[in-house]
Symmetry: D2
Subunit: 309 residues, 4 copies
């Protein structure tokens, strides 16, 4: 059976799961998402792309932006060791065991978030970006352009709504500021963060953007070294252990690939030496991950034997 057929079947098997999930409704723009939207796409290292469904419809990347922020910070801070000095003393690299928006761990651990995939960690990474990029938004757009060939945009209505709904993020940012773990104002950091969450990308673009992580840090079309191979591995290791909120163990088993999810229902994944993947289906399970998305990735990685385990 060829890959396109397998994608079709994975989609068919997974789609009904969406009925048991719930579209994120914390801001009106998110609540408008069509629960029936579904896209599944795989971009191989050689440039071949396979897709089914709504793979060219842009949606807010939300927490998936945390991966791009981390990549940018690593690019700016250079080698693994320099990174240790400036980034990794301010944010950890271990799973948190607490919900993605918990303040308890921050208070107990001196304002150092556990990892860059939870909200508090991404806020610290953004604070680093403000130091090192003239314009963090422009840097992210440029990074995605390098990885996908496409220009992307921020949805200003979503960015504004995120800002209005971000009491919890604002609480975290202030708590970290209290511990001295922010160099810039809470407003500046939150604006950067909310803009990133409101970045609009298609499933195809997201899948493409993951290929370099499957390829020792080298964008396969251009041959450009986006990140040192060791740093690329750092990113995928963090995605596997921390990328899917409180379901990292379950994803490691059921999907078997480094993944990062977002509340708009996207999940992007890295199949080492093979491809970048993305699935999109807005209804979420109780852990905040796309229900049909996980089912589709499970089906696909099992049929194609892509699991890293």
């Amino acid at each position: 059976m060829d890959i396109d057929d397998i994608l079709e079947e994975a989609a068919e098997v997974a789609r009904p799961a969406a009925e048991h999930g719930k579209v994120a409704g914390y801001i009106p723009e998110m609540a408008k998402l069509d629960p029936k939207s579904f896209g599944l796409v795989m971009c191989e290292l050689d440039g071949t792309e396979h897709g089914v469904g709504d793979i060219d419809e842009p949606f807010a990347i939300q927490s998936m932006s945390k991966v791009f922020s981390l990549i940018l910070a690593m690019q700016k801070l250079g080698t693994e060791h320099t990174v240790t000095d400036e980034l990794w003393c301010r944010v950890g690299r271990e799973p948190s065991g607490d919900p993605f928006n918990s303040l308890v761990q921050l208070e107990h651990e001196q304002g150092i978030p556990r990892n860059p995939m939870i909200n508090a960690g991404a806020l610290v990474v953004d604070d680093v970006l403000i130091d090192h990029c003239k314009d963090p938004d422009a840097s992210m757009r440029e990074l995605v352009r390098q990885l996908t060939g496409d220009e992307i945009e921020i949805n200003p209505a979503i960015a504004t709504s995120e800002g209005g709904a971000s009491y919890r993020n604002r609480a975290m940012a202030n708590l970290m500021a209290d511990f001295g773990n922010l160099n810039h104002t809470v407003d500046e950091v939150l604006t950067t963060y909310n803009d990133q969450c409101a970045t609009m990308m298609t499933a195809r673009q997201l899948a493409r953007s993951m290929r370099f992580l499957a390829n020792d840090g080298i964008e396969p079309d251009s041959g450009e070294q986006i990140l040192d191979a060791a740093l690329a591995r750092r990113v995928t290791a963090i995605m596997l252990t921390c990328g899917t909120y409180d379901a990292a163990g379950e994803f490691a088993f059921s999907v078997g690939l480094p993944c990062k999810s977002g509340v708009a229902g996207g999940i992007m994944a890295v199949a080492p030496d093979h491809s970048g993947l993305c699935v999109w289906s807005p209804p979420l399970d109780s852990s905040g991950n796309s229900l049909a998305g996980r089912a589709a990735l499970h089906e696909l990685t099992n049929r194609l034997e892509l699991s890293i385990f």
Copy 2:
């Protein structure tokens, strides 16, 4: 031995303790406090006042303002039972066991602070005041005028500095807003809170203002019922169990009176059916209470057998 002599002796015994404490330094205006300042004053219900040291020098009342806020909220919300409906469903009445500025309890208990004497609780009380007073600052000045006969002022430099240093309070306010436990904006609530903390009063004024709590809610000079007797008892019960941060048990034993302390080194106390008291000495112990202040109150209540136990 007469009361004035006993006050003199209590002051003499207590003063050296100040050397082992530390003046609060989180904002420059507080760090300027003279560690040698010391005042001790007792205002009896019959109007007799006894004092020693710097009892007429104004200082920032800081957390002692939480008692006045609570009194105002109780006045506005009327009977004990009405209170239950609007105030006590939003803030508890039990000791917290956590530091005064902890967010852990808030996160675990749906944004409901444990009591009105910790920062989070006072922020909720202030949110209530904004609903019920045209101008909460004016209401507090008017309340203190009723209780002391004096006009009091806010120190704008301190109020502004508090605002600049209040990351932790801002974190708490945002977390409570996230749980839906604030009706007004975080900025509005914090401004009210910081202004109250920056209210300048003398030890004599503070002692006077506690007399009505020792007198079934009736201001003894004017005969005015400031609070219903049961509500006055509610205030003193909360002061005893929650008024001195994480040292309530120790104060109950060593002083034996309902107390409320502030980081400028003031402690005010209520001796039921007898007097209002206040001591002021800026150096604090590790629990945030005035070191010499506690020693002086211990000495005084023991010699005069004022302990309620």
Copy 3:
């Protein structure tokens, strides 16, 4: 109206509250308690006793034994300052803010329980008693004999059942042992603890036993100094701030006296310079305190103006 009439009325007002409570059912012997049992008794310092209802029926004193253990430990360890060295470095004196059987605080605070009125704290006190008494059970019986003139017994069936149901206490004891805060075996400490809980006393005996705490540490009939006056105040201060589980603030307000409750529905109280009191009604509220018991004490202290506030 005379005191006996007031007791009658307080009982009448309070009794119906029992219908809304729940008898503790964690062991069969406790579940057998008659929810209709009710006794209220006040023993004045001059020897006058007033009572209504089932005041001479023995029931298991359960957590009220924690007060007697603490008194014994203080007697054995002598002056306040010696006490500081051996007892108070192993158990705190502050409200916990956590449930009476929580392990979280123990783990976060190096195995030092917050106060001697919660289970973990009482286990440490019992460990101290095993060091200092030949036979802690005999010492407690002797103490109660001194305070009441009566011989008391342990109910072996209850003691055994307690032992069988004490997973949580066993967990705490092992956790404290892990931190090095027990000198004796977990079994030895738990046996002592369970025996104390299974001590059978009547409401009248409990009320009598509290009189010396209302009388500067002196048993009023014999004139014997049971505890130094300062240490007696230490006990009542701890009862007020920590004696009624998570409802200490509420009791301070509604009853206004140092109290200690037990899960068999007893609450004993100290009215300084006046009397010892006890009420018994098995049905409990959600905080583990006797529902009608608290109502009766509220009524009584308000009518007789016994509140210390």
Copy 4:
């Protein structure tokens, strides 16, 4: 360069790291371990074995036994779905974020441990084994015999010492019993657990025993299906996300293989489709993992490009 040379070099690079670590000293038998012991071994699926150093010296497998217990429980409970019913409702599959011996998470989450690789989780797994194996120790010996061809033994002195030092584990077991999450007595469960920890195996045996997890659940020599392929993947996914205490994220990056460590300084690892590995060097880092062991695995997996990322 051939594999044996690479192992030699990895060992050479890693050995000095041991000087910065600390041998576990919580029981005398462990403190006796020679900090200079070092062994590194790789057992390929085709039967080829490469080793350097002390690879045939038995040591206590300690927490590595948790992998064997989990495998046994999965064997006994059959398919993935049956497993869900009986095992996975009693223990989770997610990283904990708390130390391996924390009780906080247990208290907050109804006595359900986060995963089977922390002590509490392994105790639950052992409770399951007592239900399903006539003799859990014999079952483990038989499993290891199947996987390695060798007979293994329990060191009774270590087992006894573990029992004497296990206050923390005993606290956890009692807390779980309190929540109803143990079917057997605490003593029975702890005995099984301690015996497993005291199982003596060599690095070579441990490496061999991991081969079937690298081979879709099939023991490569015998061709026997030890576990269903999906269940084998479940085990390796849990090892990767939870197998190295609070350093899972760091191991995922630096080693890039599913690993499980023990406090005697062993770390075993699975290289999918390639080999089982084990390294042994007693001195530990602050996270409880072998310092030189991690360094050796890092070196080896990088040179041989074995990382799954």
